[in-house]
């Protein structure tokens, strides 16, 4: 994470709106799922994107993967602008920039055997012979810790944890540089989650991967990430090195979010948690700072303009007038 390293991914002022349709199917408004999001990812690091449902973190991941086209802004991957690539250009980037679904098991065709699903990316993106493909598949199965005998099974014959391993294997056979992990542990039991997280770290080491780690689980993010960006209502409100963020968050929303995590053995959140209300309705944007309606520190100047991310030293930035 040296300052000299060139970013593998640069995102500048990225925006994406979705039309809101009324009962007749007419567009009756828009939701700003992403609004002026900017950040950089350096090679080999894990950048966490955290926030609550509807904050835009999944839209961000899908925009990076080319599943959603952004309305504005710029995405540069390894120095190349990939914001508005053609389908063919996108396919050339795909092997190096991979998107991993929340439940990679669902990303497997239910009618295909594991072997066939794992072979597909190699058939599409490489000129390997059938024998070379088989060797590569056997290798990746070993690396994700699954027995070769599972290759002839169908996805529904595997457990949830095993399906995730196959989903990861499918993405990693192409040896990508950057992997966008969208909620990689949601819905898993803690013991399975532990093994999936260990696997992700091991694979990061073996393949020298860069991760964009999207999650709502702050305990997991704290464990896995080098830097963390906190999103609220479509914007990044704070970005900082993980240890800095968890030790001394500067944005009031980050502070509230951290205070909501149960701390086993510590003080109970049910005694200390103070944040009231819920995230704003995305179809009715709030003027000024989006968090001000719930913020314990809100002041009249918060309504005037949307605060920009302000560097606070040691790689920490927050979008708050009082941070």
């Amino acid at each position: 994470m040296s300052a000299a390293s060139i970013p593998i991914l640069q995102v500048a002022d990225l925006s994406r709106t979705f039309p809101v349709r009324n009962a007749l199917g007419w567009a009756s408004g828009t939701v700003r799922a992403l609004d002026g999001v900017s950040f950089e990812v350096r090679p080999g690091e894990t950048l966490g994107i955290v926030g609550e449902s509807g904050c835009g973190k999944s839209t961000l991941g899908k925009a990076l993967a080319g599943i959603h086209d952004p309305d504005g802004g710029r995405i540069a991957f390894e120095g190349q602008d990939i914001t508005a690539l053609s389908a063919a250009g996108r396919r050339r980037v795909a092997p190096r920039l991979q998107y991993c679904y929340q439940d990679p098991g669902n990303s497997l065709d239910p009618r295909w055997t594991i072997r066939r699903s794992l072979a597909e990316p190699l058939i599409v993106h490489t000129a390997l012979s059938a024998a070379e493909r088989d060797a590569r598949i056997a290798e990746i199965m070993r690396q994700v810790g699954l027995p070769i005998t599972h290759l002839d099974l169908y996805p529904h014959e595997l457990s949830g944890g095993q399906q995730r391993r196959v989903g990861l294997a499918r993405i990693l056979t192409l040896h990508p540089r950057l992997v966008v992990l969208d909620e990689p542990t949601s819905g898993l039991d803690v013991s399975v989650q532990a093994s999936v997280l260990n696997l992700l770290r091991e694979l990061q080491r073996v393949f020298s991967l860069t991760y964009l780690f999207i999650s709502h689980d702050l305990a997991v993010v704290r464990m896995m990430c080098d830097r963390v960006a906190v999103m609220y209502a479509g914007r990044i409100v704070e970005i900082a090195p993980a240890e800095k963020l968890f030790a001394a968050a500067r944005h009031p929303y980050t502070q509230s979010l951290l205070s909501a995590i149960p701390d086993i053995g510590g003080r109970r959140v049910t005694d200390t948690f103070a944040l009231e209300g819920e995230p704003p309705d995305p179809t009715r944007p709030i003027a000024g700072c989006r968090f001000r309606t719930r913020c314990p520190r809100q002041a009249p100047e918060c309504a005037a303009a949307e605060p920009a991310l302000r560097p606070l030293g040691e790689g920490q930035s927050a979008a708050c007038l009082f941070a």
Partner: protein, 347 residues
């Protein structure tokens, strides 16, 4: 049979199996559990451990292919499994035992206003309802007595204020989709508490919610339960949530309860090897993640004896034979293991 003590709920040696295409799954294998009045007990375990089946068994809403093999569920000294369906429907379910479901989205009919749905429940389950009022079809066609309806409506408004739904009069005229997930869960809590139950069964009520909303809901539920002295059986797979709200925790593994302890003791000195490994699986800064090797067993042909033995580092011949009896550690801490862990508890 021990005399019914001052426990509100006692589950004793409950066995429930499900007949499936692949065979008979022994989902609950001799489960024991007790709840005192006013106590919040966390039923903790990973998916497939049987916690939801146990909750459903207490509510008497097991699936059709379920079979009650043995055991008793005593509520206020009476065995619910021996009680007539009619009595359970009129006196117990939704009255003395209420339910908060996991999914706040699927729990309301999208076509009717929230107020209409709450009042429909109150028509049948209000604590003011007299036993003489019509049952079954007669009750269906009989009108909601006007005087009771007025009183019930006042109670509903009061309860909605208690669960912090702003402006109850406006809220009851809204349709379910006009509420967020957190607000719907507040409404579900209100609906569960309106009949003044003695016991609330909450089945993973915060799993579908974001962490800040979860904190709000847990805070609310704990406050309301403690204020009115209601017992809560809180099932969850999340140990952090259990720490927040519970007085006592009972851990289940593959259809057997393995350890029960007061919450502080539970997290400070876990004694069952499974509990220890489960706690070590939690991500915590500055410590490697341990995880548990192996997979949760299939319940159609479960391991003999202690069902955790194939994944346990301390497994011996005895563990494969009979299920371990209860070892009383003291202070309400019970563990079902031949080799309870002595040291090595996480910080």
């Amino acid at each position: 049979m021990p005399p019914p003590g001052d426990n509100l709920l006692e589950v004793e040696n409950l066995r429930v199996s499900f007949s499936t295409e692949a065979g008979t799954a022994k989902v609950l294998d001799g489960v024991n559990l007790a709840l005192q009045p006013g106590e919040i007990v966390g039923l903790v375990g990973e998916s497939g451990c049987g916690k939801t089946t146990l909750a459903n068994a207490i509510l008497g809403i097991l699936a059709r292919n379920a079979r009650h093999e043995a055991g008793a569920i005593r509520f206020g000294g009476e065995d619910l499994l021996a009680m007539s369906q009619r009595r359970i429907e009129t006196e117990v379910r939704g009255r003395r035992i209420a339910f908060i479901p996991q999914d706040p989205y699927g729990s309301f009919n999208p076509l009717f206003t929230v107020g209409a749905q709450i009042m429909e429940v109150m028509k049948w389950k209000s604590p003011l309802r007299k036993v003489s009022e019509g049952r079954g079809l007669a009750g269906f066609f009989s009108r909601y007595p006007r005087a009771r309806r007025r009183e019930d409506m006042a109670r509903v408004a009061e309860m909605l204020r208690a669960v912090q739904i702003p402006d109850p009069a406006v809220a009851t005229a809204k349709l379910p989709h006009e509420f967020s997930g957190g607000q719907r869960q507040r409404l579900m809590i209100a609906l569960a508490l309106l009949p003044s139950p003695q016991l609330v069964i909450a089945d993973e009520p915060t799993t579908a919610l974001d962490v800040t909303i979860q904190a709000q809901i847990l805070k609310l539920l704990k406050k309301l339960a403690k204020e009115s002295g209601i017992s809560v059986l809180f099932t969850t797979h999340d140990l952090g949530t259990a720490y927040e709200i519970c007085d006592r925790i009972c851990v289940m593994y593959a259809g057997q309860e393995v350890e029960t302890a007061p919450v502080e003791e539970f997290f400070r000195r876990p004694r069952h090897p499974y509990t220890v490994r489960l706690l070590e699986s939690l991500p915590r800064p500055g410590r490697p993640l341990a995880g548990i090797g192996g997979e949760i067993p299939a319940l159609i042909a479960p391991p003999s004896g202690c069902r955790f033995h194939p994944r346990c580092a301390f497994a011996a011949d005895a563990c494969r034979g009979l299920r371990p009896p209860v070892t009383v550690i003291g202070g309400g801490h019970d563990v079902r293991c031949y080799h309870p862990v002595v040291e090595g508890a996480p910080a």
